[in-house]
């Protein structure tokens, strides 16, 4: 299964969104999912180390989809991708954080390939609320 990493400025946001997505995907096997929130010392911000650890943890060889919230979360994932430090087949999803996480985890849990996970997360942008 494709692994999913949720990168937020806040550890609590990353963990809570992971919990939400995991619950909504439940009913069968759930895709490997890890939260990488906040800095290494527990503050608000982004930790490259946490992202790398999380990505290795969820990598099953089918690719790792990373979803980030804002600013440094997005830029750090992009910088790590530019450096080839993330596992092979890692991809930054272009999607809203909460909705994209749910879509990605549900899709990955069906055993879908990385491209399908990415498409499903990106599709969350088209869901208008008003």
């Amino acid at each position: 299964m494709v692994g999913i990493v949720l990168v937020s400025h806040s550890a609590r946001v990353a963990e809570a969104v992971a919990e939400l997505a995991r619950e909504l995907a439940a009913g069968g096997p759930v895709a490997p999912l890890a939260a990488a929130g906040g800095t290494a010392v527990g503050g608000l911000g982004t930790s490259a180390e946490r992202i790398l650890t999380a990505a290795r943890e969820v990598d099953r060889g089918a690719g790792v989809a990373l979803l980030a919230d804002l600013g440094s979360s997005v830029l750090t994932v992009k910088a790590l991708l530019m450096e080839d430090e993330l596992p092979p087949g890692s991809l930054l999803l272009d999607a809203p954080f909460v909705e994209g996480a749910v879509a990605a985890v549900v899709t990955a849990s069906t055993g879908a390939p990385l491209a399908a996970v990415a498409a499903s997360a990106a599709d969350a942008y088209t869901y208008r609320k008003v």
Binding site: T39, A40, G43, G45, T46, S47, A48, E49, L70, G71, S72, L75, T76, K78, A79, L80, M82, E83
Partner: protein, 204 residues
């Protein structure tokens, strides 16, 4: 020609400048950012100096800059980490494995580094970002290192009337106008310290 020692001196000078200016950078980051630019960069450059001390294996200009960039990405915690990290890493990569590089090679490598920053952040000059100091600074390298330092300084000052179009400041819209961009300011520091080590006063 510039050797690894020159680039180590640059990083040491940059760290000292960041330490000296950390409070001012954070002050600039208070009205339009999240008031952590100085402390974030200080943490990053302190880690860079520690990394350069513990890894004497970084024996080429390219290796010094790549190690410095990697360290910034790993330790800063804010957007300046991946941005400055990518600038130094990509510049280091472009310098290759030569033991010494010419000023022309450094100029070309820095422009590749700046292009990578633009690509990473999706910003262009005029968006009130570090690129407003880096782009004119690197362009002026063709004249001299001091000219580059001065041009980046002018570029940072020129961000005052701009409206931010990237990063957290962009959410403020009109209210971002009238404040000097902290990222452009730290970029001017970085190019200013390059001028200091390349053309020390009295040794021109």
């Amino acid at each position: 020609m510039r050797d690894a020692e020159f680039f180590r001196r640059w990083m040491v000078a940059a760290a000292a400048a960041v330490e000296r200016e950390a409070d001012r950078l954070t002050e600039l980051d208070s009205p339009i950012g999240d008031a952590d630019h100085g402390s974030n960069l200080l943490r990053g450059f302190t880690a860079v100096i520690a990394a350069l001390e513990t890894e004497p294996t970084a024996a080429t200009p390219g290796a010094v800059l790549q190690l410095s960039g990697r360290t910034l990405i790993g330790t800063v915690g804010g957007a300046s980490g991946p941005l400055y990290g990518t600038l130094l890493r990509r510049t280091g990569k472009a310098l290759g494995e030569s033991a010494e590089v010419s000023d022309a090679e450094l100029r070309e490598a820095l422009s590749q580094g700046v292009a990578a920053v633009a690509q990473l952040g999706g910003a262009a000059p005029g968006d009130k970002t570090m690129l407003d100091a880096l782009v004119p600074g690197v362009a002026a390298l063709g004249t001299s290192y001091r000219a580059a330092g001065n041009a980046s300084q002018d570029g940072a000052l020129a961000t005052v009337p701009m409206r931010a179009r990237k990063g957290r400041a962009s959410y403020l819209g009109e209210r971002s106008i009238g404040h000097q961009d902290p990222g452009a300011t730290s970029s001017a520091l970085l190019l200013g310290t390059l001028a200091d080590v390349a053309e020390p006063a009295g040794a021109r």
